[in-house]
């Protein structure tokens, strides 16, 4: 029998901020596995620990306890695995999408996508070709040379998605990607993510607190006070 290769494996993940009396347990003993191509929603009230979970998986926030395995590589086991190049793992295996699009204001749409490719050692021409292709596929062919301030919220978020996808990451982490958008644009972004999960065979974790946005997701995690309940199992 084949061993299932997961995109994300989280075992007994705990994140405690601070020490002593002021310590806050943001994530308590979370365990779950996500397969490539799976689209997972993370729902929960404010302060429940959604962002903490995402950043711990995203190699930004060091887990206090437990294991995190990304694409077969153990990145954390009671703290970061020693000798790990976190930046390299982030640019090669992970794609990030934020609530605010976080595009670089002094780069055009095209350049914002190209930079993610260039830091991953693609030549300028390769980067330009791939970035153009991605943006065109996201219906932004007419916006390549616009600065972020000249883009609508939905357009900017699609550029951010293009940037997150640029290096064909195994895992895409999105923290409230639709919060700054109206319902229609929000739904468009969500269906785009769904399509990407299938087409690119990426595991996608999407944090949201809007129940209307999660239809069609493979699984939904409900987070309450740092504890995760898998609502719709697979």
């Amino acid at each position: 029998m084949d061993k299932i290769m997961y995109a994300i494996e989280v075992e007994n993940l705990t994140k405690i901020y601070g020490k002593g009396e002021t310590a806050v347990t943001a994530i308590a003993d979370a365990t779950f596995h996500v397969k490539p191509g799976e689209l997972v929603a993370i729902l929960g009230p404010s302060g429940s620990g959604k962002t903490t979970l995402l950043t711990a998986i995203g190699l930004i926030n060091e887990p206090t306890h437990g294991k995190v395995i990304i694409d077969g590589a153990t990145v954390a086991d009671e703290g970061w695995t020693p000798g790990l190049d976190l930046k390299r793992l982030r640019r090669e295996k992970l794609g990030f999408i934020f609530q605010a699009h976080n595009l670089i204001p002094f780069l055009t749409a095209l350049e914002n996508v190209m930079i993610a490719l260039e830091i991953n050692h693609l030549s300028k021409n390769e980067a330009k070709g791939r970035a153009t292709e991605l943006l065109v596929s996201l219906n932004l062919g007419h916006r390549l040379n616009n600065y972020p301030t000249a883009l609508s919220g939905g357009e900017a978020q699609r550029v951010a998605i293009a940037r997150a996808l640029a290096n064909k990451p195994k895992v895409i982490l999105a923290d409230e990607p639709t919060a700054a958008l109206d319902t229609e644009n929000g739904k468009n972004v969500m269906s785009l993510l769904k399509k990407l999960a299938v087409d690119n065979h990426s595991a996608i974790l999407v944090v949201t607190h809007d129940h209307r946005m999660v239809e069609g997701f493979d699984r939904i995690f409900q987070v309450n006070d740092g504890r995760i309940a898998d609502e719709i199992g697979s």
């Binding site: 962002t51 930046k87 990030f96 609530q99 976080n102 670089i104 002094f106 350049e111 930079i115 993610a116």
Partner: protein, 400 residues
Amino acid sequence: MNLAIRDIRYHRGRFILTSIGLGLLLGVVISMGGIYRGLFADALAVLHFTKADIWVVQQNTNGPFAESSRIPEDIKYRIKAVPGVADAAPLSFQTIQIERQGKPFRFFLIGYDLNGFGGPPVILAGRDIRQKHYEMVVAKAMKMEIGEKIHLGLHDYTVVGITGKVVSSGGDPAAYVSLADAQDIQFKKDNDAVRNDRARIGANLAGIQSLSPSQAKFLKLNIAGITESTHTVNTVVARLAPGANLKEVQERISRWNHFRPISVEEQTKILTKGMIEKARMQLGLFRIILLVISAVIIALIIYTSTLDKIKVIATLKLIGSQNRVIIGMILQQSLLMGVIAYAIGYGLILLTYENFPRRIVLEPFDLQALFVIVMAICMIASFVGIRKALKVEPAEALGG
């Protein structure tokens, strides 16, 4: 992709303005260096153009530039006779300030022996002085036309030629006349003053009881010689014969004990160490202060522009940028600002330095050294920004 240039392109207005401001500052720094070199060049101009090896001046003085020196003109024959001396020529110097076209007109009058050396180094227009009297060659900076007349002492002098950048150690442009004319202008009194002098000295002599009538008569005859003698010069310059030993010749001249033979090297020291040392130190101090100000400004600009970019830097880190991408962005911006500001400052001085009231000499070495210093300042100044940038956590990109 060069992030530094993209950022500058996006904020070009701000970048250009700061670069212009810094450029003006560096322009002042460059001009101060130029003024310092100019002081040097001015101070040494007459010394160099005269092309003499020894300056013979009055005993115990640092003449003729730093102190006044008076020696008899006919010393030139004795100097010429010294073994090892090829040629000797008398020179007189005086600063003159008159009114011309309603404005003070200051220049440095050099009197030279028409048969000797020490005259105008070049003739740019017109001709050399040919007649023994009332002709004049002026430096270009005096802005006089050939044929123009000027009244000095008791006579009118006509400009017959224009020479180059000869100036006094104080920066006043030089004019040349024959030695005899210069002595006239310097020493000759008008007729009333001569009569008064004669009467006064005559009366004094007549009052000396012990003089015999014949002695008194003899003295009275010679009064005219005393009061009208103008055969005094400020220095006699000498050129050595090929192979002559400077020290030996100096030794021979000073052994007479009435005159001091100053070598060009000593004269240079007197002019630079003594006369312009304070100005040099002042300029040096200002330059250092301005460079420190530039450094502080650059550091502040780079630091605030880094603060403006915290979110950008955090995002770059989050998507996995190497530190060198971020350091490169900050460092390159800082260096680029330095290069552009330097170019603006240099361009500005290059366009204007001819019109400065004092001579500005732009030495390639000074310019290169300043460029290296500016680059070093930019590099050091960018460290504060880089330090801040390296401390930024990728998580800072997440906050709204």
